[in-house]
Each structure stands twice: as C-alpha cells, then as structure tokens.
Symmetry: C2
Subunit: 409 residues, 2 copies
Amino acid sequence: MTTRDWAVRFDLQHTDGATLARAGVMHTPHGAVATPVFCPVGTQATVKAITPRELHELQASMILGNTYHLYLRPGAELIAELGGLHRFMGWDGPILTDSGGFQVFSLEGLRRIGDDGVVFRSHIDGSLHTFTPELVVDIQEKLGSDIAMVLDECAEPHDYDYLAGAMERTHRWAERCLAAHRRPDQSLFGIVQGGIHQDLLRASAEAIGSMGFAGHAIGGLSVGESKADMLRILDFVTPLLPADRPRYLMGVGSPEDLVEGVARGVDIFDCVLPTRLARNGAVFTPEGRLNLRNAVHRDDPRPIQEDCTCYTCQHFSRAYLRHLIVAQEMLAARLNTLHNLHFLLDLMRRMRVAILAGEMEAFREEFWERYQVANAEARELNRSRWNSRARRDGANDVATSRGDGDSTR
Amino acid sequence: MTTRDWAVRFDLQHTDGATLARAGVMHTPHGAVATPVFCPVGTQATVKAITPRELHELQASMILGNTYHLYLRPGAELIAELGGLHRFMGWDGPILTDSGGFQVFSLEGLRRIGDDGVVFRSHIDGSLHTFTPELVVDIQEKLGSDIAMVLDECAEPHDYDYLAGAMERTHRWAERCLAAHRRPDQSLFGIVQGGIHQDLLRASAEAIGSMGFAGHAIGGLSVGESKADMLRILDFVTPLLPADRPRYLMGVGSPEDLVEGVARGVDIFDCVLPTRLARNGAVFTPEGRLNLRNAVHRDDPRPIQEDCTCYTCQHFSRAYLRHLIVAQEMLAARLNTLHNLHFLLDLMRRMRVAILAGEMEAFREEFWERYQVANAEARELNRSRWNSRARRDGANDVATSRGDGDSTR
C-alpha cells in the first residue's frame, strides 16, 4: 500500500443514523468543498453556456474537466503553457478531471485495448492516439486539476468474464497511475469497477480501497444498467469503500439519483444531465421534469418553479422561455442551464443541512412525496432529440461524461 | 401637420463647433437615454446570447425589438397578454421597435406591394400575411415599445424611378401611421427614404420632417450602397432633419460608421453587427477587427484588448476564446458579444464626453490614427461564414436588421 500525504483532505463531519448519508468538508488547494456535492461538468474547459462568475453565484464549489477532450483540443501542453486549466478557463475553485477512460471506451470504431493502455481514434479528426496510465496522469498534471482520476476500463456491465479481466487491468493501471503521479498539489482518486457483480465489486473495492488513494470512485454505474441494479449495487459497494475518504459516484445527476446516492453514503457526484437537458428545453421542478418546448407553456406567465430563487425564475416566464426555445435563441440554453444547476446545487445544500440535523430520512420522504421520475418515453425522447441536435450542430458524438439513462452513450 | 405631445422628449445639450456632432438626453417612459447612443438589437425579444442583467451592466440604455419577427413569433397578442415586450423579455429600460418594413422588403420570393400595404410570406412557415401602416402601428402598440417606427418601403438604392414611387408611398404610409397611432406612452418616429438621390432625399426629409414625428430616421442607407455614398448622403440629409428632434440612422453599427455618423449629427444608431460578428468569432479593437478563429491566436495569453474593462477582457485570453470557438462552445458567442457591445457602447460614451468638451474633431482624428477598417475580403468572409452558419442552424435567412456591409441582405 502506498502511503501518501494528499493535498486533498477530507473531514467527515456527520454520518446520518437512519440512512448512510454523510456530511463533510473536502479541503483542496483551490478551496473547501462541502459534501455531499454535485459537480457541474465543464468537458471542454467550459460548463456549457455558463461563465465562471455565474458558477460562483450558483455557489458551485467544484467542477469537472475532461482529460480526453482537453488532450485532443486544445492540448494539455497549451493549457499548461497558459498557466493550467484554472487560469485558462478563469475558474479559481476546485477542479476534478476525469481520466478519459470512459470517453475512450465509449468511442465507436477502431480501438485496441492491451495491458499497456488503449489505442483509439480521435472523434474530431480520426487520428490515432494511445492512452496509458502514465500518460493520463501526465496530462492531468499538466492540466493542474485538484483531483485527478486513474485510467480505468469501463466495460459492458453484463459480460462477466470480460468484466473480470477489465477489472484486473483497471487495478494494475491504478497501481501504475499511483507510481507515476508526482504533482504535490494534485490528489489522485482510484476507481472501482466490476459491473453489477457483487464478487467483482467486492474484490475491486478491496483492491482499490487498499492502495491509499485520496478518494474512491464507483466508475461502472450509470452506464446502461437499470435504476434498480444501480441502487442495489450502491447499497452493496458503498460501505466497502474506506469511510475516511470521499466517495464519488461518477456520471450520476438526476435529482432522484442524487437523493438515493446521498442516502447510501456517496459524497461526490457529477453529470452532464442538468446542462444537457437544459439545452434541450427540459428543466427540473420539485414535481419532476418539465419540457418547456410543449405547447401547454405557450402563454404561461409563471416561472419554472414558483419558490425558486435562481435568476431565471426571478425574471422570466415559462411562456418567454418556450418562445426562446422555439425561436432557437441561445438565451434559452443559458437560462434553463442556470435553473437546472441551481436546482441540483440547492438540492445538495438542503440535503447537507438535513444530514447535519439528523433528518435525511424525512428529507428523502418529502422529496419522494412530490417528485415524479421522468418516464422512459420522456427519457428516450430527450435522448433522440439530443442526438439529432448533436448531429446538426456537427458536435461531438463521443460521450462527454459518464452518463445516466440520458447519456448519449 | 400633426401637432402632438409625444411621451419621448429630446433635450439637445450641446452641438459641436468643428463637426455637426450633438449631445443630448432623450426622456422616455422607461428612462433617460443619453445621446449619441448605440442600441443593441434584440430581434426576437432577446439580444442574442445576452441577459437583461448583462445589458444593464454594459450600461446599454435603449435596445431594439422587431415587429416583423415578434408578430410572426410568438405573436403580438401573446406578448400583450403577458404584459408587453418589456415585461415579456425582462428588460425595464427603453425599447425601440422597427416597423418590419425593412424585413418584409428583404424577403425573397412572393410578395406584392400595393398602396394599401405589402403582402409577404413568413420565412418560418411560408404563410401569407399583409402589413398595412395601420397594422404595424397596432402591433407596436401591443408590444408597448417606447418608440415605434412607421411602415416604410426600403427600395433598391440605384433605381431612381422606382425609388421615387416608393418614397411617395412611404410618405402616404407615414401619414396613415400617424393617424392610426393612439398609445400615449409610445412615440412614433418617421423614416426618410430616397436612396442616394439628393432631390428625393430633400423631398423626403421635408415631407417627413414636417409631419410632427417625435423623431426622424434615415432608413434607406446601409443597404448595399458604398461607404462613400453613405457618408455623402449623411452630409447632405442630416442637416435637413429638424434639429430639435432625435435623428436616427438605422442599421449602422461599425465603429468607423458610428464615429462618422456622430460627426454628421446623428443621435441614434442600431445594428446587429457587433452581436453577429461576435457569434462568428470577430471582435472589435481600437486597431480594427480581429478574427479570433485565426491560428495566430492559438497560444496568445493576452485579452482581446489590453485596456478593456469588459468581463471578457478582464478574465479570458485570446487563446481561450479561440479554443471555445474551435470547440463550438456557446460561451464563445457570449464572451465575444459582451466585448463587442462593450466596445461600441464605450465608444459612444467617449464620443459624448468629447462632444460636451468640444473635442469631437480631436476624438475623430485619434480614432482614425489607430483604427483600420476591415477590408472587403474580411467582410465577404464574415458574410459567407455567417450565411453558411445560418443555414446549418436552420436559422432565419431574412435580414434581422437594417444592416451595414456585413448584413445578410
């Protein structure tokens, strides 16, 4: 076991009695992060449509960047030359970078996975590249994120034999990432794999959990398995992760999954869902998702959510937002994104208060009394809309983040 | 001559000695507008990519809306029902609405112009509509703008005979607009037509100028004539307009045209140029336009403009902005738009200071010592890029505003 003094320190403040929910503070070189926390995703060095000033106003504390995307464009050397990712994108708060593993394994077409690493083609120009554990550490050190992730292999969750091999490889890669890592102001998190199989998950949690990482992520969920499977696995795997380090559920970000993830002892979440849905005209309310594109909102003078304090709800009607969407105005994406991020960040803050007050179970019950999960059709509709839009815009069709059911993967 | 007490009052504070530049204050029901003023264009009830809060921070005073676009979508009745355009779009400052005349006459394909009005097809769904002078007044009263424009016919500037007839029709329509107008908190501006012909321009300025409008616009410029023609006509026509009412040069908004327009006694300008160029990656500097898409900016740590106080220049490098453009990130449009609007609004404020200090001629000389006008190729490139983007986005190809050389018209 590597023993290392990581720059990121985690103070666990309180563990709930009735649930497994935890409240804590994660100290990073760019400031403290109160947990549980949701991290907005800034794949290409920007949280889509939003400025750093707005992120501060939303009280976002930590955001994500992506090794795969930034390595390809504009390149890690360039970002390093310009002072690192924080300075490059004008964000002085904590940044976590995903390793690129998930993105590379989500790419269509030619790639080769070997023990040394993975060969892939860029989604931008088709050029060939190789990610090794050492290279993704080097890239993330150049980016200068506060938290870096190991290279992992995110495999199809239902193929046991393949999963077992991928898990073993992920463990060997994790050791190599630890050995390669140098930057003292950056902390490395390990990633547990194992799909939906308890024996693999236990083996992975024990292996990764004993390597001495600054924190531990669950990497193979929210990639196509059912909601029931996801919650069952969380029930099982979360308690196996070291309690004194932050636990990170990658790619999860629907309101219902955040509530259930927090209740199971997860501290960190990230997902493109709130920003992606927003660009597609879908917004969160305490009753569930609302699609502002629908004609029913045509003349509705009410805000998205009556008691919401976000800029959007304080100034604009559903009718105006629908007009902006129908007229294909960029402001629609901005205003909807502000609301959705506010909604999730506020949900996390309120859960933290509930945990510290010992009332997480009551919070969860109240949440479920109001909240209606989007049905499968709505999810499918959002997904196909998104995909057709992505094609029209000539946008990337590589996944931008470990997703939930709405991911493009 | 109609005598009318308009809600908009114009106090002329100072007229320059060496140039014809004027400084004044225009009082409107939604606040005072210091002139000379540049008005950002919010065609579809939003200045593209920008919030009302940002417009206030930029110290924008008056913005534009468009009768043609808002009539088609979402409809004037709907906006009236929701409390009018100010409330609908969350902007509590002054609004000027163009009459839609320019847009209708810029439409390709079937239309019929008669004395009663103009029949046109919607660029959205091809449906047939008729604009009469009375209808465009009614629509603008429903929108509730502070300043409404008469319906005018904006004709091809080089066809003398047609122009003469169009001008006569524009005068008859102006009278009908005046007769139809009722709303006491809205003021009506007349529009001078006549292309590039001095006799027509003189006749139009005298006719329109004697009808008692709250202000007077020059409507037939910046629609394809040369820069030299435009300035020559401004020299000629501006002094013919009543000095006690604001003078408005429609569709003009390049830095050089603003300086030369102000020097010729124009008080109000509007143009989509700063916002449209911004979305295309082109930004203003005191030395001229910069295309941030160019590879030369790839690793440039400098802001767009060293001494600029806008949010973009205070926080982001050219290298970052170029990355956002290349990666097709929406934030590029936002940040570039903030800079370009700041640049023009600041230019206007500095000219106003110079006028009040009696130093407009020196200001103009200093401007021209540094500023290099974009060459024809750059303009053509921007235009074709814009058009290809507009097609890709499925956006309107109707002109959104009376344009300058970069207009899509």
